[in-house]
């Protein structure tokens, strides 16, 4: 790896892989602006006569704005809760206290319980809390995530001890230290928290499917699945809907790719 080698075979392989990764997106995008290859065989590679009509169709055929709003509200609640709760728990784990080993063990074993597998009692519990079909009920299970707690813990651990001691000597209270010293220094952990919790909540499908009762509470993934069930593959509007749903996640990812990747690999390797 250190020596200089011919690189074109590597480029060739990677370009082929990139094509496999990107082609499905292109194909769907092309269908969403032309709709043509639903009826034509062989399909054209370049869209002929591109038009935005299918996007207009989506806007009128389904309550897109409503789904979008629901998704945004649920995601906003989830993100806020995650940043606050995870920062608090992450900070607590940087302290030495009795029972810390137990709490760490508890967190790590919770990581091994996939939420989807416990969906039925989770549903019953939410029902008992009276939160079925509500924004709070939709977001509550995602309020705190263990990976993100550890991302905050790592960021707080990285704050130099001397800086905290100096702040304490200056007479700042613990609250002020957290608020004015630790949190600003852990800004990238906050970014990671925001992005990961957004992606998880935005893409979440199974939980909303179970918890929502009324069409008014449905989020985008539910709307998309429902649209599929009564449109089948017969119209370009479905693919226009796909693109409209994918776009926000895609944009956010491209803007904050670094934090996202850092969060995943930090959360995975450092626990």
């Amino acid at each position: 790896m250190m020596r200089q080698r011919r690189t074109w075979p590597i480029h060739l392989t990677l370009i082929a892989v990139s094509a496999v990764m990107l082609l499905p997106f292109y194909w769907v995008f092309k269908t969403s602006i032309s709709g043509e290859n639903i009826f034509s065989y062989p399909p054209n590679i370049i869209p002929r006569d591109p038009n935005p009509f299918y996007y207009v169709d989506v806007w009128y055929a389904i309550p897109f704005a409503r789904y979008f709003l629901n998704s945004v509200i649920v995601s906003a609640i989830t993100i806020t809760a995650n940043v606050v709760l995870n920062a608090m728990a992450g900070y607590a784990l940087t302290q030495n206290f009795r029972g810390k080993g137990f709490v760490l063990l508890l967190f790590l074993s919770c990581m091994m319980i996939p939420f989807q597998a416990t969906i039925i009692p989770a549903y019953l519990i939410t029902g008992k809390l009276g939160l079925l079909d509500s924004y709070l009920g939709l977001s509550l299970p995602l309020f705190s995530t263990i990976i993100c707690i550890f991302v905050y813990k790592a960021a707080f651990d990285a704050v130099p001890r001397s800086l905290i001691d100096a702040a304490r000597v200056d007479g700042l209270s613990q609250w002020t230290i957290i608020w004015r010293v630790m949190l600003p220094l852990a800004r990238s952990a906050t970014a990671t928290n925001v992005i990961l919790s957004f992606i998880w909540s935005w893409n979440n499908f199974m939980w909303p499917l179970i918890v929502t009762r009324t069409p008014e509470m449905q989020t985008l993934p539910l709307g998309l699945a429902r649209f599929l069930s009564y449109q089948e593959d017969s119209t370009g509007a479905l693919y226009a809907f796909c693109i409209m749903v994918l776009a926000p996640g895609l944009l956010l990812f491209l803007m904050a790719q670094k934090e996202f990747v850092q969060g995943l690999s930090a959360g995975a390797t450092k626990g």
Partner: protein, 309 residues
């Protein structure tokens, strides 16, 4: 919120330690509550429920192992779903192997590697429901791109109805799943590769080790923790990818792509058999734990220690 009140010496020291303990637990409480409510309690409830006959509005009756007995001896769908789940678990190493190859390629010093990384990773954070719809489209019998390519290259005479075929449905779903997970695996392996000191390779090069030997003797052993993490997280992600299967095939045709998670959902919310679904859930959970334990043993047995630093 306010600043600490100035008070006299000793009392401050005492109060500070208790105050800190209270603060710590108050900070932990909300997160602990969430995990208690949505991880631990559901798990315990599942275990209890699996030994009962119960449906909403009826009192629960303890029935011992009846649910398990039915599951093991009288339920073909359960076995089908179990084997399909195993199939998906077994496909994780394939994805990881591909990702390892890609990670080695983009780890090398080539131009544009950041772009390649982004492209390979981009499918991971996207909404799985939309990804599933995209792949339905790709696999479509009449107008799908894959059938078009296969026919243009004369690989097949007539189009294959991938998602409606008992033979092809599961492999198709697995392919879509690997496609989405590839970038995640690659990112984890890349962060593992970055921890391997470069001078190890130099030393091995001086000792006359060729590229293959360096890969087997240095890269793979040192990557073991990363590969273990890939496998565990990838496995958990894949066997719980309810949305992918629900949208692509809904478990069909027949039960050809039914996996435990979709079966649990159907039992619970289509047939309202919460008690029986709980027995399947407990089995599912034990299966996941067992496989994680095995993977941990295979990867050297200390991969869990990485997480505790």
């Amino acid at each position: 919120m306010g600043l600490a009140k100035p008070a006299d010496g000793k009392r401050v020291v005492l109060r500070r330690s208790t105050r800190r303990a209270i603060l710590v637990w108050a900070f932990l409480a909300p997160s602990l509550l969430i995990f208690l409510l949505y991880r631990i309690l559901p798990l315990l409830w599942n275990v209890v429920l699996s030994f009962e006959a119960w449906s909403p509005l009826k009192p629960a009756v303890f029935i011992g192992l009846d649910n398990y007995q039915e599951m093991l001896f009288d339920d073909d769908v359960f076995w089908q779903a179990l084997w399909n789940t195993f199939g998906i678990i077994a496909s994780a190493p394939i994805g990881i192997a591909i990702a390892l190859g890609l990670a080695l390629l983009v780890h090398s010093n080539i131009r544009g590697r950041e772009v390649y990384r982004t492209i390979i990773f981009v499918s991971y954070p996207l909404m799985t429901v939309a990804v599933a719809i995209i792949w339905r489209w790709m696999f479509d019998e009449r107008v799908g791109l894959i059938n078009y390519a296969a026919r243009s290259l004369h690989l097949v005479d007539k189009p294959i109805p991938f998602l409606n075929s008992f033979t092809w449905a599961l492999p198709s779903v697995i392919a879509a799943n690997i496609w989405q997970m590839l970038g995640f695996y690659m990112v984890i392996i890349l962060s593992g590769l970055q921890t391997i000191p470069g001078n190890l390779y130099e030393a091995a090069g001086i000792d006359g080790a060729n590229a293959f030997h360096r890969f087997i003797r240095i890269t793979v052993p040192l990557l073991k923790p990363s590969l273990f993490l890939c496998f565990v997280i990838g496995m958990l992600n894949s066997v719980t990818s309810f949305d992918l299967i629900y949208v692509m095939t809904s478990g069909g045709p027949g039960r050809a792509t039914e996996i435990l998670i979709t079966y649990i959902y159907k039992l619970g919310f289509n047939e309202t058999r919460f008690d029986y679904a709980a027995a399947v859930t407990v089995t599912f959970f034990i299966l996941l734990l067992g496989i994680t334990y095995l993977a941990n043993r295979l990867s050297g047995g200390n991969a869990g220690a990485v997480e505790r630093e």
